[in-house]
Subunit: 262 residues, 2 copies
């Protein structure tokens, strides 16, 4: 009854197109160099997962959509990679759930923030938080520039979607009592472990899936949405993702199948 | 009796320094953008392997060093990432084994080739093959610019070390009857599968290990070196690498240990 229906037109992550987009946005200063390496790591894990939104990930997507819909102040955080790969998905999800969109970078610079803001606005965002002086609040548990958030956005959010996030920052948000939803292809990362809901999937598949799920769930009653979240167990979710990777590794090893790197 | 002794000063891949070096060389046009993503994928596999030269990899290193020492025309192929991360190791290994060094790029350009040549020469290389017009020969099994090799180098090599190589090209060289040695953190890659000897390790550890192994083995007799190679089984080697990853994944999942992404 909670089964989200994903259409066949759902994007299959086209790795060459994605790389081109990242390099293009790296040249524009939107994606950082750390973002390029992080993407490569994601590619390795995506292959190990089978490059598809698993049943397991879909359960997490459903719980995440429910969390965003029931949140009083939901916020979607956007860093360079998330904006480069998912600006349209972020904007659509924000519209369906009423979430605010906030630029939240590990490596802040006025120029990068403005560039990401422009990118999100050209994808249809009405208002983008966290840009330059607007990121005037501080999260206590983190040091330096990385602690800066918008007092109207992430600071007072009760639910926050932080795709491709750093472990320290995910931990800090969780410690503040916020529901932390993340999208991370690596089920072993600190972020994956600290989040309330970890969607172990490629962001180019997960964001559209989240938007679809939110649309379908928006018709359901609050009680149903709360039950979906309380039924969700992130530890089981992560164990299952690791089990899937292990199984696939063994299968690939037996069949002598291989990854084409280029 | 064939046990190679690796000193405690052996480099532990410092990921931040490595990334800095790659970005620096990317800016100089030595490393391609595909090279940055490939490095990220390598980081994921290196973590899964435990970021160390495994016993298993050391056996492959030993066989590889023996192959280079017994080869009549050994050649070390250098692409952007290999040069950026291992120029000194390549030069040292070439000196110890008498191997030629050849620039061999997936994405050729006169500028990149010359930049890589300069990098290798500043690391001590006397002569670098495969630069610009010198790469005048063609390997039949591959198309386009990627088939170009130096007739004095890779074309007539009987043993070739091609670290971080593309699957198609590794396959073509193997089909030509050459002994193909590769360094690849992904035991599932086509390159890993097609090579004669696959060193499943990080290039920053593997190249110094190869140089040390070659030095220690250079005192041994040819018969011993040939036996080391005939005793080596690449399929078993790759299965063992995959098994190690499987075990580590299960362990990491149980302990709730995680990767710090930043």
């Amino acid at each position: 009854m909670n089964k989200i229906v994903i259409p066949s037109t759902h994007p299959r992550a086209n790795s060459l197109l994605i790389r081109e987009r990242l390099i293009e946005h790296f040249a524009k200063g939107i994606v950082s160099d750390a973002g390029l390496f992080a993407h490569g790591r994601g590619e390795a894990f995506d292959y190990l997962l089978g490059e598809r939104t698993t049943e397991n990930a879909l359960v997490a997507v459903t719980a995440a959509a429910a969390a965003l819909l029931t949140g009083k102040h939901p916020v979607i955080s956007a860093n360079g990679n998330a904006a480069a790969l998912g600006a349209e998905g972020i904007v659509k999800l924000a519209k369906v759930t009423g979430a605010l969109i906030e630029v939240n970078l590990f490596y802040r610079s006025a120029q990068r923030e403005r560039a990401i803001e422009r990118l999100l606005k050209s994808a249809g965002a009405q208002k983008v938080y966290g840009v330059n002086q607007a990121a005037s609040a501080r999260i206590a548990e983190i040091g330096g520039e990385r602690r800066r958030v918008d007092p109207r956005g992430i600071l007072k959010a009760d639910v926050v979607l932080v795709p491709l996030e750093d472990g320290d920052r995910a931990e800090a948000l969780a410690k503040m009592g916020k529901k932390v939803i993340t999208i991370d292809l690596n089920p072993l990362s600190r972020t994956a472990q600290f989040a309330t809901i970890t969607i172990v999937d490629n962001i180019v598949r997960a964001l559209p899936a989240l938007a679809i799920a939110a649309e379908q769930l928006s018709k359901k009653r609050q009680n149903r949405l709360k039950r979906i979240q309380s039924d969700f167990d992130n530890k089981k979710n992560l164990s299952e993702a690791i089990r899937l990777i292990n199984n696939r590794l063994s299968k690939l090893a037996k069949n002598g199948t291989y990854i084409s790197i280029h």
